[in-house]
C-alpha cells in the first residue's frame, strides 16, 4: 500500500516535472518515466494488460513520437514561458491538491456504491466479447490517425 502510494506520488512528481521542466527533451523523458510508473501501478493493481500497454505504447511509442517532434522542431525551443505562471501556478496546484484531498475525504463513504458485479471469464473474453464495438472504434481511430498523418504530411501540390 505504501509502495503504491509512493509510486503514485512519484507519478505526480514526474508528471509535474514533465510540465515544468524547461528543456523539452527532459520533459519528454520525465513523461516517459511517469508512464513507466503508471504502468507499474497498473501492474500492481492487478491489471497487467493495461500496465503492459501503458509501458509499451505510452512510455515507448508516444515518447518516441515526442522526441521525434522535438527533433524536427529544434529551433523552436526558445519559447519564453510566462514568468507569472511559473509562480502562480504551483501555488494554485498546491491549493488544488488540498481541495482535492478535502473533497475526497468528504466523499469517502458518502457515495453509495452498488455491489460490485462479478466478472466472468478472462480479459480476452471481456475485451472481445464485451467491448467489441470499442475494438471497431479502435480500428476506426487508428485509421483516422493514419489518414490524418498522411493528410498532414502529404505533398502539398497546389493549394492556394
Amino acid at each position: 500500500m505504501i509502495l503504491q502510494t509512493a509510486l503514485l506520488i512519484g507519478l505526480v512528481i514526474f508528471s509535474v516535472l514533465a510540465i515544468v521542466l524547461r528543456d523539452l527533451l527532459k520533459s519528454a523523458i520525465s513523461l516517459a518515466v511517469a508512464s513507466l510508473l503508471l504502468g507499474i501501478i497498473f501492474f500492481r493493481m492487478k491489471a497487467p494488460y493495461a500496465g503492459a500497454f501503458e509501458i509499451s505504447v505510452v512510455a515507448g511509442l508516444i515518447t518516441v513520437l515526442f522526441v521525434l517532434t522535438i527533433a524536427l522542431t529544434k529551433s523552436g525551443d526558445d519559447v519564453r514561458e510566462s514568468k507569472i505562471a511559473n509562480w502562480v501556478f504551483p501555488l494554485v496546484f498546491v491549493a488544488f491538491i488540498v481541495i482535492d484531498a478535502l473533497v475526497m475525504k468528504s466523499l469517502l463513504g458518502k457515495v453509495p456504491a452498488l455491489p460490485a458485479a462479478a466478472e466472468a471469464g478472462g480479459f480476452g473474453d471481456v475485451l472481445w466479447r464485451g467491448r467489441t464495438l470499442d475494438l471497431i472504434g479502435q480500428i476506426a481511430a487508428i485509421l483516422a490517425g493514419v489518414f490524418a498523418v498522411l493528410a498532414l504530411f502529404r505533398k502539398k501540390d497546389k493549394h492556394e
Binding site: M1, S27, A50, V58, I70, L108, G145, A148, F153
Partner: protein, 102 residues
Amino acid sequence: MSNTWYLYLFFAAALIGAGVLGLLGKRNLIKLFIAIEVLGKGISLILMGTGLAKASLLTAQALVITYIVIEVSLVATALALIINVYRQTKSLDVRGLSKLKG
C-alpha cells in the same frame, strides 16, 4: 482495500489538475501537448481506479487500452499538426496562433 480506489482518484485528480494548469500556463506547443499527456495519465488512472472500486478490473483494462489507442492516434495527429505549424510559423509559441479572432 475497499477504499483504496479513493487514493487513486485523489492522485488522478491531482494529475488532471496538473495537466489543466499546464495547459493554461504553458506556451510551448509541445509542452502543451505534454500537459495533455499528463491529463491522459490521470484519466487512465481514474478509469483503473473506478474499475478497482467496482471490481471490474478487466473491463477497466479494456477501457484503458482503448483509451491508450485513441491517445496514440491523437498524439500522432497532434504532433503532425505541431510540426506543420512549426514549418509554417517557424515557432512553437502558442501566442503566435492568434491570428483568427473576433
